[in-house]
Amino acid sequence: MANRPQILTDMQVSFCGSAGDGTIAAGDIFKRAMAEAGYQIIAFDVYPPEIRGFGKCIARTRVTFDQVYSLKPQSDVLLSLDDSHAIPHVGEVRDYGAVIYEDRPMATVEEGEHMSGHLKPAQLPYGVSFRELSERATSGARFRNIVAVGFIAGLYGLPRDLFHRTIGRKFAGKPAEVTESNIAAFDLGYDDGAKTFQVDINGFGPPPKRKKSEKVLMMHGNSAVARGCLSAKIDTFFGYPITPATSIMEILAKEMPKRGGRLLQTEDEISAVAAIVGAGFTGSRSATSTSGPGLALMTEVMGLGSIAEVPCVIFVSQRGGPSTGMPTKTEQSDLNLAVRGVAGDAQRIVLAPTNVEGCFKCAGIAFEIAEKYQTPVIVLLDLYLSNRYEAVALPNKNPFKLDATKWAKKPGKGDAYQRYKLTPDFISPRAIPGQQGMQHTITGLEHNELGRPNDQPAMHEAMSHKRHEKLKTAINYPNLTTSKRFGDKGRVRVGVLSWGSTFGECLEAMITVRKQGITCSAMKVVMISPLPVDEISRFMDDCDVVLVPELNYEGQFASIVMGTLGRPVHRLNRVTGTPMAVNDIIEEIQILAADKPKRRKAAE
């Protein structure tokens, strides 16, 4: 009983069922209502790979008072809409947590296939008649999922009208009966939950108050990217659908035309990236979005963007690879391709946000950086981040610069405009079609300052130097945190160096081990290329050992860090297709902390 909390301030609910059960929809209503109330939210759904079919769906939502960075390894509530899918997940419910299941399933259930037989001793069982309640409310079993949401709300004494509003909004476009049936089902569930034995006796505390200067919105990574684009006043978008990036394009398809922007679905990814290079050449703020397979097709054109020095933005949401791989699973294994997948010496700018708010920021800043440094910029997400919901506080004022270009002056009479002028800051003043007297041709051939083909040694050396030095200066771009250290200052036993969506789990792990007395810091690296070498070096100087947890097999970020700095790190790699377990990181830190300070052959 010692473990049992008095007031719950951090609740994680998992809905689990098959695709036809409305599992995801139930999770959606729950998280929207809680976000609306003002709580912090992190939520992530897991789908089956088939369109239809009866694969397993899990919708997990964590609701907290203060900001947290990842889902918890253990949920407080597991709600099963289909026991055959949910039984394997019983183990992830904490002691004295609730397991809620159908009491009176339609068909007779085989021995051992009913949830009640699988609960662990300290878990609290709640058998509920979802089907019967649904039928009572609406004369059909279709609303079992809504009954379930109602039951949880009742169980925790959450405000009924909050949910009514959310349900109303969700079905706003539909006939009034739809909303009514849903509310009826919700209420029956609620009543049932409210009158049962209360799981956390003091209930769930009230949400924190908000600042007036921000709008708090619940959204997933892809919608945050779309919002970032809109805030940065994106002009054109060209894309080709691919999981898990498609929703970026689908949101923009709805929103851009309203603001005068133009979006075109192209015939493939090669055309999409070629079109943004064309658009970028004209001064348009242009972007595309894709996943690993599409990025593989884009590498040739991105090389053109680098040498021709054209601003454009590529959003990449990674999924399980290689090849078609695991389209509905998460992974961080397209990093090599993003950073090094290009013919010739063409360094790229690659940004990797670590949470949903970061998706918004990186998306907007990407346009600034692309313009300022005249180069393609990749913003690298993954399925976990693309689909993960968080309550994000957006600034009321647009935080992005709407023009970051260094413009050229019209050349004097008789002088030609030099598109690739060699300058002290390595950036050549720009001109775009329509400007008089500045006509020029950009090219993928090595060229002189005028842009004419030129393959002389000194010219290629000078231009290679320019292109690389230019990007290095991007590390100091004023409006962007390219890396940041958290946790203990000064010398530490273990340093966790992390990127992308996995950083949330690293942060949670770091916080936990510090409580256990291990000195530890975690550094997130947002600019993966060019790498903020100095900051990382200083961080590594402070750490006895450095751990790099990543969701890929090869330790791709670890190799990039070692390849750039020539110093060893420890790899921690998982390829389960799911977010990294915080406990795995904690364990690895504990092992490293217990080990002798000097471990030489660390690189393997």
Binding site: T266, V277, G278, F281, T282, S284, E300, T441, I442, R452
Partner: protein
């Protein structure tokens, strides 16, 4: 039309040209093509057309892929993108969608268009994007020193077909008609007067215009599509050809043994830009 003149080179016409104002459209880089290459007359005709249509060089962007033909943008004084092998059309699509008021001209070779770039043509045509595509067909890969192209004739011996090409050549005009291009014409580098006229019309057309230009590669094709052979083959379209009848156009396009010069087909229909404007309108109207 049967009276096809000899090729005409810049040098000979220098006097006339400098008077005309065309030179404003020429860049300071002289073409690096082989002497006698058919491409010289195309660059000449394009500058003449822009001059005649009074389109400001700074309001024009010429986009190309890779190949001898694709060196073109360096030789004109407009904005230009010398892009990648096969990718001129999608780059041009980006430019036109982003900047509707630019006159966008795409140039390139037969390999660039119908081999590596083949996925893009149907979509430019069906969307009716308002650009002009001038295709330089020499039936060979020039820049890589002579390999078979999708328009190489059967039996042609090249570096990659040393025992004679066995793949039936494509029929670009048929293809473009079947894709729904709204302006489809053919010209011949050896008939620069007619070529010039066609380029003018193609640029003036509102929508996607495709001009197929037969142009000998004097260096790597000494036997098939030479000036001599082409000169004997080309003919005009029948006097009663109906330019609004797509089946009639296809009928003429089938006769590849006697390529017809002229405008095969044209129609007026909304462009991609019109469609995008319509979407904007609807979205702002709330549906």
């Amino acid at each position: 039309m049967t009276n096809i003149g000899a090729p005409v080179y810049l040098e000979e016409k220098l006097e006339e040209i400098s008077r005309s104002g065309r030179l404003d459209y020429r860049s300071k880089s002289l073409p690096t093509w082989c002497p006698g290459c058919g491409y010289f007359s195309i660059v000449e005709s394009v500058t003449a057309a822009l001059n005649r249509l009074e389109i400001d060089p700074c309001e024009t962007t010429v986009v190309s892929g890779i190949g001898c033909a694709s060196r073109f943008p360096f030789f004109v004084n407009t904005y230009g993108v010398h892009s990648l092998h096969g990718r001129a059309l999608p780059v041009a699509t980006g430019i036109k969608v982003a900047k509707e008021d630019q006159t966008v001209i795409v140039v390139g070779g037969d390999g660039d268009a119908f081999a590596i770039g083949g996925a893009h043509i149907p979509h430019a045509a069906r969307r009716n994007i308002d650009i002009t595509y001038i295709l330089f067909d020499n039936g060979i890969y020039g820049l890589t020193k002579g390999q078979a192209s999708p328009t190489s004739v059967l039996g042609f011996k090249t570096g990659t077909s040393p025992f004679g090409n066995q793949d039936r050549p494509l029929n670009p005009l048929m293809m473009l008609l079947s894709h729904g291009a709204s302006w489809v014409g053919q010209a011949y580098a050896g008939n620069p007067g007619h070529l010039s006229e066609m380029i003018c019309q193609a640029i003036a057309h509102r929508g996607f215009s495709y001009l197929h230009v037969l142009s000998p590669c004097v260096t790597f094709d000494k036997t098939t599509k030479t000036y001599k052979n082409l000169g004997m083959m080309v003919r005009g379209l029948p006097d009663d050809h109906d330019q609004s009848d797509v089946m009639a156009a296809m009928h003429e396009a089938q006769k590849t043994e006697q390529p017809a010069l002229g405008l095969f087909y044209t129609e007026n229909r909304p462009t991609l830009g019109d469609g995008l404007n319509e979407i904007s309108r609807r979205s702002q109207a709330g549906s």
